[in-house]
Every structure is written in structure tokens, then in C-alpha cells.
Symmetry: C2
Amino acid sequence: MLVKKKAGCLLAGMMLFPMISYASEPVEPIKPVTNVNLDEVELGKKLYFDPRLSKSGFISCNSCHNLSMGGTDNLKTSIGHNWQQGPINSPTVLNSSLNLAQFWDGRAADLKEQAGGPIANPKEMAFTHMLAVDVLKSIPEYASEFKRVFGSDQIDIDNVTQAIAEFEKTLVTPNSRFDQWLLGDQQAITSYEHEGYQIFKTSGCVACHNGEALGGNSFQKMGLVQPYKTSNSAEGLAGVTGKDADRFKFKVPTLRNVELTYPYFHDGEAETLQEAVDLMAKLQLGRTFSTDENAKVVAFLRTLTGDQPSFVLPQLPPSTSKTPRPEPFDN
Amino acid sequence: MLVKKKAGCLLAGMMLFPMISYASEPVEPIKPVTNVNLDEVELGKKLYFDPRLSKSGFISCNSCHNLSMGGTDNLKTSIGHNWQQGPINSPTVLNSSLNLAQFWDGRAADLKEQAGGPIANPKEMAFTHMLAVDVLKSIPEYASEFKRVFGSDQIDIDNVTQAIAEFEKTLVTPNSRFDQWLLGDQQAITSYEHEGYQIFKTSGCVACHNGEALGGNSFQKMGLVQPYKTSNSAEGLAGVTGKDADRFKFKVPTLRNVELTYPYFHDGEAETLQEAVDLMAKLQLGRTFSTDENAKVVAFLRTLTGDQPSFVLPQLPPSTSKTPRPEPFDN
């Protein structure tokens, strides 16, 4: 069992090896969050946990991007309003601020645009932006907090999604053992895990899974060398660009905290890391990892779990007699 | 706006007026929790938030007893597995350790017995105790935590519900403004709120809503003076005792944090406190409150909101390749 170095030692390490140990690596350490509006973050945290942004009053952002479970629901595809089966695996919200775009097909430019999607999606939260805003307006504590945060009596979906996105920016996970290694702590990962990293680099995984998030920064075809067989009907980027060449191109998912974000792929069909690594090697790289290689890569991937978001469960202000009531059932 | 006294002042107040100010009152202050097993509490907190105790992997204790929302789901009746409509309003988990029994009909003797109910209820979490235990056994971090907490390699539903119940014992809400008043702080409630308390006492509400939790300590017939009209088919205590005299007898709900625990009654039909107070006066006391009386009683009830549970959102240990996977959909 490796013991994490204390922050003081880490800082000392950083000063001794400034940008040396990882300057030549294709992966960069996650940077702790800075430069967020803390008032927006606190408001956004409440909204993230508030199921009153859904028609049923039962589904919140945290239902499918559960911050107790790596920012996912750990289901193949999600459960939406009226127990509808979602079309695609819910990607993790952790480190999602590092993505070049949001959703598997990149149809939202940023976190703010993304946040509005599920609220109004009839298969997810099944509400409308106007009704969600009406709920918030009817709750005096929200009204006063919006006013304090945004300096206006107006509450609109723009402010709502701005606050949620600002909270989501704080959901980065620095300080993984691998990042400690990148920052110069040679003992932070084992030689076995290091061998896994070498295989990860030399076999080509790193071609797509690179940068701060080990992914999230490009779209790639699922099934590059061998076609991927799936019953999932998602077509990926082509649905956004209309280009046939973009069929089955999906945003490369981050590998940060990947041991927590199972099951894998846009269809959630790979249940374990072992299975996901095996299939990725075949489909994308045209190679077959030996059992030993696979195990080493998986061991490396498990070093990518960083500090999970840590905050006090938010308390939500109560509805009033003016608050539109949730409608969970059609009867 | 009233400012809460600091703990130091409160303690001083308690010493100056030991048991004097509320000795003659039918309501007692909520006592802060003591005498819990903190290791069990920490384990139970994880289990409380873990949706893997449900068949779908989507529903946890916190889904219907949401600790961001007064320990309830704020729905008339809850949403269960496959979006089934629950038969009855989910009572708050806050201060539930003070109840003489659990569930509206008292069919569980205590919190531990209660905790096993929803897990195996096909309309709620739709799992079995054996499958839930299998899930936990397959997760090494849980296995080692159970061993550390209970000193045995065995994980069983007895330990699971013991830990959940121990966590729930911590969910008391001391320090409401009304309790500050009971403890001698004359300024903690307004004279208007105090008038509401007097009406509450003199009109007979306090006959059932008394003690530390203002309820939870007896079963009473819903519709004592006037019959209650509802389409809800729950029969209350009679379902437990088999006695016809117990039909429509329900456990008197606590009024602690009642401004957060809407909607009201076992069928959730009263949306607002105003409506609930009006109907209770008519049905149980045979009287009609004036608008002024109603408003004062409601103002008093709003002084019963105590300190909400405050803790860091727990992180759940990840499943492994051996963990049985959730089955949210039948296909």
C-alpha cells in the first residue's frame, strides 16, 4: 500500500523538479481548480442536487452524474423520466471542464450549454427551461441568492446553467498517484504500474488518451481498425456535423478516475477495465494485448484516480405555496 | 430576522435556567445525538447513499429520504423501481430515532428493522437482502470496513441495517428557534410565533404532537371527529394488529422541520402547512381556525426547523468484476 505524500512534500518536490519530470510526457497533471466564482459555485452546487429542476421532482444532475460514484451512475445507459431507458452511457462530470466539447457527440460547446440539455430532454428530466425557472423564482431563498450572485432580479436559464457549470468546474480531481509521479515522486507508482504506462504509450493508447485528462480533447472513430459491433444506435459526431465521415466518431472519454466510471464506451457495454482495454487494443490499435500486458495497463489506469470532490451535502431551500408542484405520474 | 445565539450563550442559558423554562411545557428540546458508534455511522452513511442496494442500481435510501430536502422526497407518494407509484407518503428520516415505531403503520419496531423493508420491497428498491449482501461482499473496501466495524468476516443484512440505523440516529435536528426559546432564550421566537404556540396548545394540537419530536409517540385515527376522505387505500395500524378499531390509525408524524417535509399526511394530499393545519383542526379537533389563528400556528410550526445534518457527501467504493451488475431494465 502506497502512502500519499503530504502536500508539503509534494510542493517541495515540485520546487525541486519544476516541470522537469513530465515536460517530456504526453500526459500532464490535473491542475487544482482556480479562478472560479465561489458564489456561483455554491448556488450551482444546490442546483446540481435539486430534483425540482425535473418534471418529476425526482431527478437531479446528481442522479446520473453521481458525485459519490465518480460522477457517473455506473449504469450502461441512464434511467430518465418515467424510467425511460437512456440512449447512451452517462459520461463522468469529473474533469469535464477539460473536454473540448460536451456530450459523447460534442453537441454542446461547453458545460453551460450542456447543463441545459438534460433539464429539457423528455427522456431525461423531462422539464422545460421555463418551468424550471418558474420553480426557482417561487422560492425566496433562491431568488435572493440569484440576486446576490448575479446582481439582478432576473432568474433565467442562462444564470441557472452558468451557476451549474461554475460548480462543475470545481469537479477536477488532482493528486492522483500518477500525477504525483509526474510531479517527481518516483515512489508514487509501482514499477508494475509504470510498465503499464510504458505499454500504454508505446502501443498507441496515448495517441488519443493524452493531455491533462487523458482524453476529452478529440473525436475518434469507435472501431478504427476493426468495426465495433453494437446494438446501440448512436451515430456520434455525424449527428452534429451531418458528415458521413463523422459516423461513429465519439469524443474520446477521459481516463481520469476510470476505475470509478464503469461501465465503459458510449454504449456502456464493457463492464470491466480488463474488457475495455482488451477491446480498445483490438478495435483501435489492431493488436492483442497479452494477459500480462492487459493487467499492467489496467494497473496503470487505476493510478489515475485523483482526489474526489469533497464538500458538505447542500441543503435545498423549501418550496412555497407558489411553487409549481412536481408531476411524477401522469394520473 | 432573528440571529441564532452562539453555542456558548446557549450553554450559559441552560445553566442559568436548568430545566426551568420548559419543565412545564408539553414539548421538549431535541437533544444532540450522543452515544452512537461512529464507525458504524460512517459505514451506514455510505450504505444510505449507495444505490447498489437496489435492483436498478439507481435508488438509495437517500432517493426518498433526501437529506438535502428535510429527509423526504417532497412528493405525494414516492417513485419506486420501474417508476412504480408508492402507496404512501415517505415520512422524514430526520429525528426518526425518536419514533415509537417506524413506517406510518408502525410495522417496524425500530430503525434497524425499517431499513431492511424498502431494500426488499418490489415496489421500492426491488432487491433482496441476499443480493444486496452479495453486492457488498464483492467490494473489497466494504468487506474490510465491515470487518473493522463489526469484527467479523461475515456481512449480513443484520449488520447492513445496523449500520444504516446507527447513521440514522445521528439525523436529529437540535437548535431550532423554538428549542432555543424552550431553553430560555426569550428572543428566539417572536410574540406572533409564541401566540401560535399558545393556540397550538390550547386548541388541542399538542395532545398528539408533543414530546421531543412533537409527534411520533402515538397512533391516532386520521379523521377523529370528521371522517377523512381520501382515495388512498392505506388502512394504517389495522394492517399490523388486525383489529378493526385500528383502521385509519396512523403514527402521528413529527412536526420537527415540518416546513421542509411537505406535502403532508400519509397520502401527501395537503400541499401546504396552511392547508394541513386547517384540515387537522377540522378533522381531529372539530374546530375551524380563523385565518389569523391558522397563520399564527403556521408561524409557530416554522420555528421547529432545527440544524440540518451536515456532513461531507460520502464516496462509495467501486464495484469489481465480481460485483453483480444492476438490472435497471427488464430487456
